[in-house]
């Protein structure tokens, strides 16, 4: 019983840190998207949108390196895509952080579980899944 309670409060500390981490990640990524959005609207506001047909070649910025290259030109859409990328990385960072906190707690079973989840996501990041 007392052991369960102790676990709960140890978890609680981790959760508060994780919650803050998520919030920081979301605020940072959304600020980038917002600024990128302003730049994008300033230069592209009168263009006509055409999203009626999905074309995988049209969007561009479909790899991480592409986003970084385009970012150098201060293009609005590239900045938005960079912010989106930060947003995607926020929950991934949470997994990384959880693994460390389980390590501190010496809960090796959950270090393993967390590492496995991370590997699944990293495999997806490796861009081998889309032909």
């Amino acid at each position: 019983m007392s052991k369960e309670n102790k676990n709960f409060f140890a978890d609680r500390d981790i959760q508060i840190i994780l919650g803050t981490l998520l919030r920081v990640g979301v605020i940072a990524s959304m600020s980038v998207v917002f600024i990128g959005g302003l730049v994008y609207l300033t230069f592209n506001h009168s263009e006509i949108v055409n999203y009626s047909q999905f074309d995988s070649a049209k969007t561009g910025f479909s790899t991480i390196s592409e986003i970084f290259i385009e970012l150098g030109d201060l293009k609005g859409s590239a900045m938005i895509q960079f912010g989106i990328l930060l947003l995607i990385f926020t929950p991934i960072m949470r997994v990384v952080f959880s693994i460390f906190s389980f390590l501190i707690e010496r809960d090796y079973l959950y270090v393993l579980i967390g590492a496995f989840v991370l590997c699944v996501i990293l495999f997806s990041l490796s861009n081998k899944l889309v032909g």
Partner: protein, 287 residues
Amino acid sequence: MFGDSIFVPMSVLLFTIIVLLGAFVAGLVGSLTGLGGGVIIIPLLTLVLGVDIHYAIGASIISVIATSSGSAAAYVKEGITNIRIGMFLEIATTISAIIGAVITVFINPSYIAVIFGIILLFSAAMMVRKKVDHSDNDTSGKLAVFLKLNGAYPTENGMKNYAVHNVIGGFLMMFVAGIISGLLGIGSGALKVIAMDNIMRIPFKVSTTTSNFMMGVTAAASAVVYLHRGQIDPGIAMPVALGVLTGATVGSKILVKTKTDKLKVIFAVVVAFLALQMIYNGVTGKL
């Protein structure tokens, strides 16, 4: 160029404003009902604005990450998310979300619209159904003990312990939820609720927030696949992400104070209507 389209050609500015407003409402309601913003965003983009469903899915998954991460921070401070349950079930949801995201482009958009409509109808039904808390603190299975899934949460009368049941059943249901999530770009909260509330018998206060917490990681796994495929377009993703996040933030502030029963009924009717529209458009091949 727009000859055979019923949709009015639109400037980037107008498109952004409409999507921004729609996404705000989606985020607000998604956060209040716990279903996430995707269920509103995808019909809005496809039915109202004529956006290809593959773009809508890509933008929606971003809104799922924003909703999940934005409101999870508020939930976590209450100390009721069970990180171990979340992490363990993420094994199922990340693998299946990637599978779903990989196969989604090989499926005819009309079929996706129909599947989406069915899941929507199901979500609407789940929302108005009277929920029964099955949680208890009876001795649970060996697996739950081994995985340290049992926990406690704060109530008015102090800490309340709970035991987790049928871990394997819940895990399999989460696998299904992940496939749907990757396939349609939604959080599939309704399926996660079934896995956690009905199969694993976790208390509401814990299951709702743990499910919300898991969604971000699950969505990130499939978002990466969508990104590589060019399904995430900055012009759509920007207003969707900003609108949903703002709506979800407002929603999570209201959630603590209000009862949402009436809102859920109203929302269920709207969702059911959207669902039928999606199915109709799917069957007639308009999407």
